[in-house]
């Protein structure tokens, strides 16, 4: 039953086991996937609010734009490669459950780690140029948005670490396959968030 149909039904008129003996979850997907989608929605709200405050604060007059360090392009490339490798691993696993994806999946995470290290180097570069956290709101936002994004990525890397250890110790079962699918989804999501943040930081 679609959600619309369901909320317009008249429950006092219908009796009996609707849907026979099968329970009817609202969304035909594993619970963990639904929870992750919800979580990504919450994170989207968080970053949207930061974006709104970013533009509001920018309009207040004392804003000195930060020239984005070129290294950000390389970092972005790392994150794109990481996402592609994850996607590739997931494809292969879907095609045949015996596919050897250990290397693909592990290297994918390593690229994400390189992104994190790259972002820290960018911070160091800004600091060396005298662009400190508190010296201008544009700087503050730069550190804040990149830092927050990295924090979310670190959360993902923790799951990636656990899944990688599982993968190395035994053959992938349905549980690891789900972990890999969710990691991939989350990686694409964080890539998208990063691209939007990068676009905002680079253009203002």
């Amino acid at each position: 039953m679609s959600i619309y149909k369901s909320v317009t039904s008249k429950p006092w008129e219908l009796q009996g086991l609707l849907g026979e003996l099968t329970p009817q979850p609202t969304f035909a997907m594993p619970s963990a996937k639904l929870a992750l989608i919800l979580f990504m929605t919450v994170v989207t709200v968080l970053f949207s609010l930061f974006t709104v405050t970013y533009y509001l604060r920018m309009s207040l007059g004392d804003w000195v734009p930060v020239a984005s360090p070129p290294l950000l392009w390389l970092n972005t490339a790392f994150l794109v490669i990481s996402s592609i490798l994850f996607q590739r691993a997931q494809f292969m696993l879907k095609k045949s459950p015996d596919a050897n994806i250990k290397v693909l999946f592990s290297v994918g995470g390593v690229f994400a780690l390189m992104f994190v290290i790259g972002q820290l180097v960018v911070w160091q570069q800004l600091n060396d140029r005298g662009l400190y956290v508190a010296s201008n709101p544009a700087n503050t936002f730069f550190y804040l948005l990149t830092g927050l994004h990295v924090l979310h990525l670190l959360g993902g890397l923790w799951v990636w670490g656990k899944t990688s250890l599982l993968l190395l110790s035994r053959e992938p079962d349905s549980k690891t396959a789900l972990s890999i699918e969710l990691c991939t989804l989350y990686w694409h999501f964080l890539l998208l968030i990063w691209i939007v943040m990068f676009a905002i930081l680079a253009n203002t």
């Binding site: 009796q15 639904l34 609010l49 503050t140």
Partner: protein
Amino acid sequence: MAYVPYADQVHELHDPHTFLTKYVWSQDHKVIAIQYGGIAIFVGLIALGLSLIMRLQLGFPDSFNLIDPAFYYQAVTMHGMIMVIYLLTALFLGGFGNYLIPLMLGARDMVFPYLNMLSVWVYLLSVLILLSSFFVTGGPTGAGWTLYPPQAITAGTPGSEWGILLMLISLGVFIVAFTMGGLNYVTTVFQARTRGMTLMRMPLSIWGILTATILGLFAFPALLVSAIMMTFDLTLGTSFFMPAMMAAGEQLDYNGGSPILFQHLFWFFGHPEVYIVALPAFGLVSDVLSAHARKNIFGYRMMVWAIIAIGGLSFVVWAHHMYVSGMNPYFGFFFATTTLIIAVPTAIKVYNWVLTLWEGNLRLNTPMLFAIGFIFTFIHGGLTGLFLGNVVIDLPLSDTYFVVAHFHMVMGVSPVLVLFAALYHWYPKITGRMFNEQMGKVHFWCTFLGTYAIYLPMHYLGFLGVPRRYYAMGSTDFIPASAQDLNASITIAAIFVATAQILFFVNIFWSLRNGAKAGGNPWGATTLEWQTPDTPPKHGNWGAELPSVHRWAYDYSVPGEAQDFTPQNVPASLVRSVEDEPHDEQVIK
């Protein structure tokens, strides 16, 4: 991999064996609910004590040397924050959400029990961080529960040394705990319902809790954003919210920030927060009213849609808290309009509650009295909300006791009455014992009449122009001396109501051992939690097999049926009609 619905999957239930895994590090939703409830009520009592400190000062100024202005403002701040977030949000969603979602939906537990356990422990951590601010240099923050900058983090405000930082950290930690719990509640409601439990067969409690949780998931990020940014301003000297300003004759290092930006963020969270508290209360009270009126809830579908509509609208009304902030008058017009529109679905709910009572077979026991009391206080607080929603009326009243009276009626007293209704209503299921009915009734009348004695006169003080937030009135020409007498009487009423709560605690602890055995379904209720094989329900809730749901949650007094209630898990073939019944006398009995 073929997809298997959650409720059909085989789940290993790790039966806890040791004391620690059973009662402390428990992953059982019922134990977690009680942990959430216990912590929330504990901090709630601290907040109640703080309100008495405020009242002593207001009722009898200059009589208590202990209460200096700084301490007064700290009491105001901590009272507000604890009551709204650490008590009401946590008790409704962490407490009742945890207890009722799996039981009402026919699930064995939450979908992510481990995450659920983490949630309650992280919540405890946030409470401990908050309470630790009582013991640091300068004490807790006294910035008011809205924590408006620049005042909140500027020297001179009580708690600007450590209190405000601990408050911000505690809020951040609370939001993490809430998010873990919230993802769990929503996923469980959508995915883990037992067979036959369609969305529109869910009791209204679940609809309220579900919608409030979704509101929380979307609204708390705004608080997190403002807390993070204020922490930056405080610790790193950035200028998100801090304008260029002088303090104590010195130019501070801040420049160009916007305090109004903070207000927008805060109230973008703050208004949905009102409904995060109110919607579960709406849901719970609907079920209590229906069960004790022996009548189906009036207008079930409208009730569901009203909950959803109120939830949606609550995100577009936030600036009605900021009419006096000097914002563009067109904004005021927009937000006044949306605010008044919320009255429509809210009024639908109130009419439906009253119509549920209409010609019902009312049983005026303790939970029912509290539920009916809620209808009174909620109408009362709701109507003053219509006053304040209009810009021209809000401007003169905004900083007076009228606002204090309004929000305490609508989101203080009303949800608390529902909490009591719900605690009494589900007490027999949670503990397996009945509470003492007489004591419960005395508790109700003291609380209900007592809160009116507190808040009704406050409206009048507001009309006189008595300003809120003031430590002492000083010599004010336009306020007659009799206002002070009123303040003293309010304080006496407040002490009376606070003392009366002892009855509640004596009752629930005394009844744990001495209450009559409740049996599985003492109220004759239809929803699934009353149909468990054991009371209190054991780990896994349902024994060998999950229940099947054959009807909606409100089959009370169905014409022609022998019993005045038919539980949700009873199939049509097992329902006895009046004609089938051989011994009519027994039925009447």
